[in-house]
Subunit: 341 residues, 2 copies
DNA sequence: TAAAGATACGAAAACGATTAAGACACAAAA
DNA sequence: TTTTGTGTCTTAATCGTTTTCGTATCTTTA
């Protein structure tokens, strides 16, 4: 590997001069700078990030926590899309992305924080994990700039998809289509679930909807079988709903199956709405009406905020950035106005 | 940050002793080792990977190229699943994963190779990219241990999903179900496409199937609209196929749409088979018959091979590891034996 | 013309680890 | 007793940068 020393020798200058020339410091002459740079190019020089990091305490590397097994990691459409956007955002500004884990064999103790300290991440993004584990708490309480996605900690920057507004928009949407008997299969308990559920109830009240208790069901996120079962339950009620909301798009397809198996037709007989707006949802008939979360913007905001936190720690305020989603109007919710019984 | 020096002072020994104690070298006394370790733990010491890397020329970091925009990066089910498996595999052995890009602002020239040199990756995995770009060629021609997925370079280790066997199994499967008029919508040109197409033809010959030219169509991967169009074309033929194979599961759903829109029923009237075995395919009715690629094994093999290449460069042979997939038998291919005209 | 200010470059000390080689004490063997 | 060996620890060089401070040369200005 060719180092600055080699370039220095080749150019007949000192290492200091090479360093300054390559970093475009202004106490180096124009001609010298050019000479050094040309030589560096010619000799195939690449800066040694480890050495640079050792000296400057800056790694230009961002740790991403993306780990919880239940969430099936990278294969989760929503999180993967956010990560993809985050990746593009930070890379364009010269940062790399490294996954955080706690296997690290050369950290003293194996822990997320240990891993981060060891690698010297400039900042960390907590995208998908169990936010209640002690390891995570330890991590966010550290002095490393941190941004979380869809979860709120005190004094930690967060980017949140607006679940309150989202659920309100979605419920209002189906209400406007004439639906008055709306069921909601919500996901397993989490802050996201809480927000949506609370918003569902509040919006229902505002719209003058009465929601029987048996219309509120639970099924884990992305569990088509569970959603299938709950849908069957709902369809078996003496007064079944005309529209069912699901925790996510995956689950909504479980609903499709249950409805069809009951000899009914999606939309025609029972309307369905999902949540997330994953790609496939737009490509399956009937196309799914769903609240599409803006993964592009979410990832971008996480990246921007994090870099701002890293580069301007004093002037960047600790805040929660809320990103709006919007209803994607598919064919799975039937307009039943006028046909009301 | 507490360093070895701090521990050395606190323990009244030299830095060298601390280093050796923590690295479990055998020229340090048992008692000293314990004392040093306890102190390290107590003081919250974490090794500085940059310093270690500078000295040892080992980063315990693996670069992953996962970049091509057309392939939509991380949101591609197949590649994301492979990456997830790769990630778990290498992390358990103490390696980290960092994405390779070419934005790097502190490399001399911005290039993939420059980025890798700069970061000092111990090895690189090329998972998803345009294998024909000069930048990639430059990368695989370097001396950095490399493993590619689903693409073959000379003298470079590769892990390949067995597309030849896969297509053979799939075609044989539908043949055994009685299908004799089988169309194949293949993906855009690539080595993977080539393999499958060649295998399709060869298998057809072996089975004594005659495939009319108009049964072979092209539609880009993961393009439901394109698949929809080609399906419409096929259904409009004077003698339409009884079964259609698609480039991937996503496309297959485009086929579902076309079939239904033509007033026909999937499976009942026209059989459909996908390729990949993405999660959602098992959860939509009729469940998709598809060649399920073993993403878990693929990622695992990439990781194992890469680490072997890194840790035993002499004894690891340059080879191509082939991973088998298997037909997932869904409900989208109807058994029409006996009903043959 | 001499003092003061710019400009361009270099010397050397860090950053935090690893590691070869040496030193010292003590036990075992000659 | 001397030699050899063994176990434990230290010294010091080194990895490739950055950065502070110093110095030499050249311009300006009074």
């Amino acid at each position: 590997m060719v180092s600055m020393k080699d370039i220095a020798v080749a150019c007949g200058v000192s290492v200091a001069t090479v360093s300054k020339a390559l970093n475009d410091q202004n106490d180096i002459g124009r001609k010298t700078k050019e000479r050094v740079r040309r030589m560096a190019e010619e000799m195939g020089y690449f800066s040694n990030s480890a050495a640079k990091m050792l000296k400057t305490n800056r790694s230009y590397n961002i740790g991403v926590l993306f780990a919880h097994e239940d969430y099936s990691g990278l294969t989760h459409d929503y999180y993967a899309a956010v990560l993809d956007s985050l990746k593009r955002t930070v890379e364009q500004q010269g940062y790399d992305i490294t996954f955080i884990n706690s296997y690290q064999h050369f950290a003293g103790t194996a822990s997320y924080l240990g891993h981060c300290r060891s690698r010297g991440f400039d900042g960390i993004a907590i995208v998908c994990t169990d936010f209640y584990s002690p390891e995570i708490i330890e991590l966010v309480r550290s002095d490393i700039p941190t941004v979380t996605l869809d979860h709120l900690f005190n004094d930690v920057c967060a980017v949140m998809s607006n679940n309150v507004q989202g659920m309100q928009d979605l419920l209002t949407y189906v209400w406007e289509k004439g639906h008055r008997r709306v069921a909601y299969i919500h996901g397993a308990d989490s802050s996201v679930t809480q927000s949506r559920l609370a918003s569902f109830y509040r919006t229902a009240v505002q719209l003058g909807l009465t929601i029987p208790d048996e219309y509120i069901r639970m099924s884990p996120y992305r569990d088509t079988k569970g959603a299938y079962r709950e849908t069957m339950y709902l369809l078996g009620l003496s007064e079944p709903p005309t529209c069912i909301l699901y925790p996510d798009d995956f689950s909504a397809f479980g609903g499709y199956n249950a409805i069809r198996e009951s000899g009914l037709k999606v939309a025609e007989d029972v309307s369905v709405a999902g949540y997330d707006g994953i790609r496939i949802a737009r490509h399956i008939e009937p196309t799914l009406t769903t609240l599409r979360q803006d993964t592009e913007e979410l990832g971008h905001q996480v990246g921007e905020k994090l870099i701002s936190l890293i580069e301007h720690p004093k002037t960047t305020l600790v805040e929660t950035i809320v990103v709006e989603g919007h209803v994607f109007s598919g064919n799975s919710v039937k307009d039943i106005r006028g046909k009301k019984k």
